[in-house]
Symmetry: C2
Subunit: 150 residues, 2 copies
């Protein structure tokens, strides 16, 4: 086994695992990781929005798969909103750190709405699925309105 990957991976070690240690990951790395999560969410919500709008036909298999991916991705960014990243270029607003309770509320809402989306998508009822996509988008947009620069 080459040492390349472990060495690279080790660079991120000291700042992850324990919340107190996150500040040791470089702020620009934390921002990159946050944005990576957003990129993948966009990848998997896109086709679902297309189904809701009728731009693409409803596909129960894709709906269930993407819903599962979105629910899995849901928790993967929040630990990257460390105060050390305040000076980094990103669309994150300072309110993230001054209204942590509200920010946390949106995190929970995304978890809950994507879990409900998984159930709806697997149920195969197109109407329930479309309503569930709407709930996920509400949590996305609600959080972006409050905590992301337009």
């Amino acid at each position: 086994m080459k040492a390349r990957l472990p060495a690279l991976a080790l660079a991120a070690v000291l700042g992850a695992g324990a919340a107190a240690a996150y500040a040791q990951v470089k702020p620009e790395v934390l921002v990159k990781q946050r944005q990576a999560k957003m990129t993948l969410q966009g990848k998997y919500i896109g086709p679902l929005v297309g189904m809701v709008k009728g731009a693409v036909p409803f596909n129960a298999e894709v709906a269930a798969r993407n819903a599962t991916y979105l629910n899995a991705l849901s928790p993967m960014a929040w630990d990257g909103f460390d105060e050390s990243t305040k000076g980094e270029k990103s669309r994150a607003l300072p309110a993230i750190w001054t209204d942590a309770a509200k920010f946390k509320q949106f995190q929970t809402q995304l978890d809950t709405s994507t879990a409900a989306l998984v159930t709806a998508a697997k149920g195969g009822n197109e109407g329930a699925f479309k309503a569930a996509v709407g709930e996920v988008l509400k949590s996305c947009n609600g959080c972006h309105d409050a905590f992301r620069q337009n």
Copy 2:
């Protein structure tokens, strides 16, 4: 609900959902999505490698959480290796498209090894966990050696 997110998300719709339609997503977007998946994998494998090396103490809770995330992330990049991306700047080697069977084999190996890692991490046996991390790294490095530019 603002239309902002749905509009953004819709931009990715036409190229996802059905395999045949992937070519319609801009190649640079596909590459960005692939790299986002790699970024998140690095985020979550890093602390596990640290535990294996003894750089950070073994933490069963973090081990199980990160293992679950890695297994969830495992399938999220492969559909982005569309032939339309051949001309994009990335470390992907042409062998990806000339030896698709071997590439697929590594995809399966990552799925399998991260699933085994979840089981090992949840079992709480440090030795089994460390061995399972080694197996995941073998699949990472094996694929990188064959299909990624150094």
